[in-house]
Amino acid sequence: MALDKIGIAKRIAQEIQTGWYINLGIGIPTLVANYLPQNIEVVLQSENGLLGIGPFPLEKEVDPDLINAGKQTITMLQGSSLFDSAESFGMIRGGHVDLTILGAMEVSETGDIANWKIPGKMVKGMGGAMDLVASADNIIVAMQHVSRSGNSKLLKQCSLPITGLNCVKKIITDLAVLEIASEGGFRLLERAPGISVEEIEQATSGKLIIANDIPEMII
């Protein structure tokens, strides 16, 4: 069965190593924080100027001067630090953030990502996404394998305006875990529980690279 959002978040959480500084995008990536293993220590960055995002506040703790990049009220963990936006993107651009997890509308088989604009329809802006994908060494995309209108989001080439080129390392969807092969193509690493290789093939428009034996995810 295809994973739900929580399932995707849980699987992504397994990718995370202790000691990492991590930027989580809005949506599914934000959920990942809830499923980190107990024994690892990571620091979450909010690109609007905080290292050390804590849980959402209790009602009495709510502070309008303390929000995350999704504009939600948050708390700070012990050992947090605050800074301005230039410093924050200096961290990102300078490669100090170990992992970026973000959503996407489309990913190409060479690791291009499109997630900021639908011409004529949606003009929200790219926010920090272009800086993140242009800078991070380790980028995981969290998304549905297929769009609501039934089209594959794993394509030979992106059809929507690009956010960044050759940057995605790994994709974790409701159906599969895949990595971008250095020669191009989506290398299938794991299947969602109960999902067949054929179902993944059908849902993938770009080149899918399949080894003999594809294990099921362990969630």
Binding site: G49, K71, D84, S85, F89, G120, M126, D131
Partner: protein
Amino acid sequence: MINKVVENAGAAVRDIKDYSTLMLGGFGLCGIPENCITALLSTGVKNLTCISNNAGVDDFGIGLLLKTRQVVKMISSYVGENREFERQLLSGELQVELLPQGTLAERIRAGGAGIPAFFTPAGVGTEVGNGKEVRTIDGKEYLLESWLKADFSLIKAWKGDTAGNLIFKGTARNFNPMMATAGKVTIAEVEELVPSGTLDPNHIHTPGIYVQRIFQGTNYEKRIEQYTTR
């Protein structure tokens, strides 16, 4: 120390003229110059170019200046919270330049720090790179981006002193410190205005040299965009 205090928001923004370029601090509705925005609604100044990470919401922040059609151009990174903005943009009433958030922050810092241009990887291969110089350095491609400056920067701080030194609180700092450096005239509104010498020199985020006018703000609403509790 040099005294930068003006009476109130009205006095601070009085000489902002039509066709001025403004920078407004804040991320979402957090750390925005509420008092200055209200004062601009009163002066009715028009054809403003506003540089701000976001464009407020329909009925708060820069959204208020959009509603009154005082803004002719926005330079921002994310404007997804504002339907009036989207309407004006799609109808062609409003010019918009969208930039990667880090590029926006760095271009503003560059404007304040006398760096006319710099290379950044953000936007390479995207429409942000259209018409911009691309250069390969150490095997990676970068775009050349230029500095941004403003006629007036409108800054919101937590505490400030009469010499213009500022301290921000929490994530309300965001774009405010860079913008303070990049305005020909920088106007700071603060929640608490204290005498020069009250703030610890080691805790100051924005040195007074960048601030030309400062005043004690009033009636801060500090609206929360996404009230979230656990």
